[in-house]
Structures are given as structure tokens and as C-alpha cells.
Subunit: 349 residues, 2 copies
């Protein structure tokens, strides 16, 4: 099927979500379990992609056979090039060919990205796709903050950052219903003079309105501005975004681990018993399981990348998010945001 | 006094530590209190630098008059250029002129850096000074991990990162007694192919031994590798380092704030009473007050930059660290590390 001819409307809504059954630290067991739950409990059509013989009882969830697996630590580009019959490549092809509405993987992030990029292709006008990761803002009224690029492109140009702003705003609107998302640039001070030439030029261009009418540029934020709803979208290059994201994860994990160790000490049983239930809502908001995973924005299809340690519950979330975004028209929204009023952009395909 | 003629040995040990009395959110009250405590309780000679009339009772701690103040949010370069009689500039001059062994400030970080750089000057062979920040590794046997550059240079070259490795290792050895510090590069994956050209080239050069004999290069680490002693020194550019540092601070602050709010809920009084004392050692290890502050490495003098919110206790720590590093010969150690076997370096001055 030619690009731009993907199904829409009722035809799209009738398609299943393609799920990479072989990707993730707990694959295929938890992945298959999640696919079954999404199908049985949420009523979402799912297509498992993987080695039929190794998936166990799929409970009636259909399987698209794929004999190869790209390992978690395998070189992404090489894996995608060599393993043409891998679950990741086949899942991306299912979206390209109109056999699935979206793809979900908890596997090798780089390989999921490469599969989506190479098989689905970029949207017209998109310089480079970016990974958008939702960061929760617990205890506030704010929906999650969308951080992008959180790892697809180590090196970026101001053109790319301006596009990330547009794509991130389209995602925030689509996923969280934020009418006019606030967009900030991640830098090392609030003043527009802070940062490298990349931040300075991107700041100038976003301040001049190059992000278009679909967002509200609010200037720079800093590393300490996560978790309290400082912006709906935070834009940065993929190197900085990845370091920031992993630093958050590491800091949280360290502190929660320390607290758990303290609560396990003799004499603190009662305190633990009282405290743990009180902390549960916060813990649930913070764990990556709850957010549905990261999105690759800018490709011609919905691609959700779930955390490598995803459980069945995480997969249900990811599949539900992928379904809702595909049916809600995320790809069209991103395409429109990138094309709209951007000088030099290709006409929408 | 000409560069290279700074006092050493007994002459140096007899000098006071110059303390910027006007810098910091709680200046001058907490700064003067800290200076008094360092002088009275730790027996360290201190020289307060600031407006004599606004310091209150200094308890006999001598004052070097300086009539101007560079504000916390003032442009650093402009502040230093225009306010020649500011406490920061005078403190740096005291070190340059052999009237103080070291300087300490909790004020405007950029202005403290600029004062030290412009008045003390760079050490021979140093391309650019860097800010080294100790990150604690609580609950482990590891001394703090030294992160540099944590904000002095938004843009860096591989030459600079190789020097940061050398300077950071000299600091780790001097401050924490680590014989042969392990040095890692902050990147977005363990493989040497990860990151931008800056990380890739720096990795290749450090792997080829350009860091010299004073350190052990262990490859890349990621944002999730803080807080558990993954390396004695972590090297990065000042943009990424600053984002990582503030992200850690923000994550910790957010989680500790959330926990504190939960513990304040009705019905959790007993849990709070049992838990808070148990958490205290961890909280103390984590707060920036305990580490003595960040260091500007590569200038011809000891310059400790304490957290803007520094209390009297933080100042005592910072003054003690500054004293110990000056007497221990930090400047000579950094100078030696930068000069030693580095192709193209100036001969030591």
C-alpha cells in the first residue's frame, strides 16, 4: 500500500494493534498475557507478532508469524537490516501495509525506532522523528509533561527542535486534551542567553513564533523543573533528553530503594504498614508502567515503545494508548502540525 | 604578586580563607555565623569580605571591606567587570595577592567563577576551568563521585573533556584519597559508539590513555548511574552536567517533598515519628549542605562555590574543605595533572 493510503476512519478502527511478542525483558510471557488482557478486558483487537511456537496459549489472540528476534542489546540498524523476519520489522510492516492500526514493543528501543522509520517511513516534511516520553506530574492537576527528544537523535539542529515543539504539542493535545500546550526549551538557566548555540537559536525561533499557532512558547526551563507541571511539552536534543530521563529514573529508583530498605528494618514494621498504602498512589503515578510508554513521533504510523521491564499491566496500558492514538488521528495531527505554516516544509502527502 | 609566586607550605597555612560575606540567599547572617563557627570551633582563620556596616557582630573575625555586591541574578561577566569593589572580586584578589589561601562563596555561581578566573587566572596549560560537584553515594563504601563540568562551559571540545578527566581525578585523589580514581564519560549508552561526536572522540582519546597515569578510564556511564559509586569521576560538558545535576536535585526534592507531605497526614503521626529519625542519615548525606560545595578546578587558587541556600553549617563545611584543599596542595595537584605528559601543554609555570 502506498504511503498516504493508510486506512482511516472506520477501516482503521477495525484493525488490530500489532504487538511485538518477543521484545522486552519479560517476553514473551508478560507480553502475551498483556495482549490477552487488552483483548479480553478492554475489547481491543490485538495481533501478536513473533514465533508461534514460543508464545504459549494466546487465548485466541491471532499471531503474525515472525521467526527472528532482535535482542535487547543488539545493534539496532544492523538488526533491522539483517533480520527481515524479526517480530519488530514484521510489526512495523503490518502498520505500513494496513494490516494493523499501530505497533507496540517493549524491546530494543533503537531497533523499534529503526523498524518504524524504515518500514513506515517519515511523514512528509519531518526532518527526523523524535521519541516523546510522558513525565508524570504527581499531586498536581497537570497532565504528564511530554519530553522530546528523549533519545532518537543525539545531535540536533534548531530546525529539528522547532519541529519537536510542533510534534510534541500535537501529541499533548491529542493524548491529554491540552488545547494550547505550553512548550519550553530545556536549558541551563531561564534567560534566553543561556545554553549552547542550539538552545539560543531554537529559543529565538520559537519566541518568533516558528512553532506555529498550535502551541504557546514559554521560554527555558531547567532540570529541576520536572514533576511539577512547569510545561506541557519540554523540548531538547536526544542526548540531553536521554541523560535527563535516565537521571530522573536513577534518582527515583535510588531514593525509593533506600526508603524501602529503611522500612524493612526491624522495629519499623508498623510504620511500614501504615506508610506503604499511603505511598502507593504516588508510586503508581511515578512508575513507567502507568504512562503507556514512549512514542515515536514523525513516522507514518503509531509506534509506542514500552519500558524494557514491561509487565502484562504495562502492556495493557501501552496497547490501549496505541489504540486510542491511532483511532484519534495522532498521525494526521502530527502531520498537520509539522506542515502547517512551516517555511520550506513539503506539502502534506 | 606574580603568578606562580603564591605562598606555599607554612606561609600558605598561616593565611585565612576569604569568605564572600554578601553572597547567598541567606547572606550575610548565615555566612557570618558560619565564618564565626569555623573560626571559633574548627580553628580555621577566616577573612570575611563585604560591607563592614552590614555584617553585624563578626565575633572578632576580621573583615576585608568591599562596598559592592553582585546580585544572585546579575549577569556574571558584567557584574565582575563593573563592580570592581564587590565582595566576590575582592575575595578572588585576596587569593591572588597572597592575602588568603582560598575563597568561598555561596553567591552568584557564574560571577564567582568569573571573579576567580579573571583575578586568579588559569593554571598554565588549562584550556578552560570546570566546576566539579561531588555527588554522594549514600549507603555505599564509595566516596562521593565528582561530576565535572557541572556548568562552567556549555560548549566543550574533546581536548577539554580529556583535561576535565585529569583535573577531576586529581581532585578525587586530593579530596577523598582515592589512589587511582576511576573516570567515566557521561553518555547515552555503554558502547563507545554512543553519544555525539564529542563523547565518541573523548572516549577514543581517554581509552588511548590521554588521561595520563593518574586515572583509570572505565568507559561510558548513563544518567541512571549516579548515587551508587559507578565511578569516582564522571566527565561531561557543562550543559549536560548542569542539566543532570539539576535533574537529580529536582527529582530528590520532589520525592522527599511528596514523602514529607504524606507523613504529615492525620493518622500517620506514629509512622512519621518512627521513620523520620531512621531517614535522617540518608537525608543528611544527600543534602548539598554536607558536601562542602562545588569547586572551580583549573584556576590558580582554591575556589569553593557553596549552594545558594547555604546555612551556617554549610559554610563551616565549605570553609573547612577550602582550607584542607589549599593546605593539601590541590592547585599544585591539578596543575601537575594537566601538565603531566599532555602533548602541547604549556610547561608548568
Amino acid at each position: 500500500m502506498a504511503r498516504g493510503a493508510r486506512p482511516t476512519g472506520a477501516a482503521l478502527a477495525a484493525l488490530p494493534v500489532a504487538v511485538d511478542a518477543m521484545g522486552g525483558d519479560r517476553a514473551p510471557g508478560e507480553i502475551v498475557a498483556g495482549a490477552r488482557q487488552a483483548s479480553e478486558q478492554a475489547g481491543i483487537a490485538v495481533l501478536l507478532v513473533g514465533r508461534p511456537g514460543s508464545l504459549g496459549d494466546t487465548g485466541g489472540v491471532p499471531v503474525l508469524p515472525a521467526d527472528e528476534v532482535i535482542g535487547m542489546d543488539e545493534d539496532p540498524a544492523q538488526g533491522v537490516r539483517r533480520k527481515k523476519d524479526s517480530s519488530l520489522v514484521r510489526a512495523a510492516e503490518a502498520v505500513r501495509d494496513g494490516a494493523a492500526m499501530a505497533m507496540v514493543s517493549a524491546g530494543n528501543t533503537g531497533a523499534a525506532m529503526a523498524s518504524a522509520l524504515l518500514r513506515m517511513g517519515r511523514l512528509p516534511g519531518v526532518i527526523r522523528p523524535a521519541i516523546a516520553t510522558p513525565i508524570p506530574n504527581p499531586g498536581t492537576d497537570h497532565p504528564p509533561t511530554v519530553l522530546l527528544d528523549s533519545g532518537a537523535n543525539a545531535e540536533c539542529t534548531p530546525d529539528m527542535l522547532v519541529q519537536f515543539a510542533r510534534m510534541g504539542a500535537a501529541f499533548s493535545r491529542q493524548r491529554y486534551g491540552v488545547e494550547l500546550p505550553s512548550v519550553a526549551l530545556l536549558s541551563i538557566g531561564e534567560e534566553k542567553s543561556k545554553g549552547t548555540p542550539l538552545e539560543k537559536e531554537s529559543h529565538a525561533r520559537l519566541a518568533a513564533g516558528e512553532g506555529g499557532d498550535g502551541l504557546r512558547f514559554i521560554g527555558n526551563v531547567e532540570g529541576r523543573d520536572f514533576f511539577h507541571g512547569a510545561a506541557d511539552v519540554i523540548v531538547t536534543d536526544g542526548f540531553t533528553g536521554n541523560v535527563a530521563l535516565k537521571t530522573m529514573e536513577g534518582s527515583m529508583r535510588f531514593l525509593i530503594g533506600s526508603l524501602t530498605a529503611i522500612l524493612a528494618r526491624p522495629g519499623l514494621e508498623q510504620a511500614a504498614e501504615a506508610l506503604i498504602p499511603a505511598m502507593l498512589p504516588l508510586a503508581q503515578e511515578l512508575e513507567p508502567e502507568g504512562t503507556g510508554g514512549a512514542m515515536l513521533l514523525g513516522v507514518d504510523g503509531v509506534c509506542v515503545i514500552s519500558h524494557g521491564s514491561s509487565s502484562a499491566r504495562a502492556m495493557v496500558n501501552a496497547i490501549t494508548v496505541a489504540h486510542d492514538l491511532a483511532v484519534g488521528g495522532l498521525v494526521e495531527a502530527v502531520s498537520g502540525a509539522v506542515g502547517a505554516g512551516q517555511p520550506g516544509a513539503d506539502p502534506p502527502g
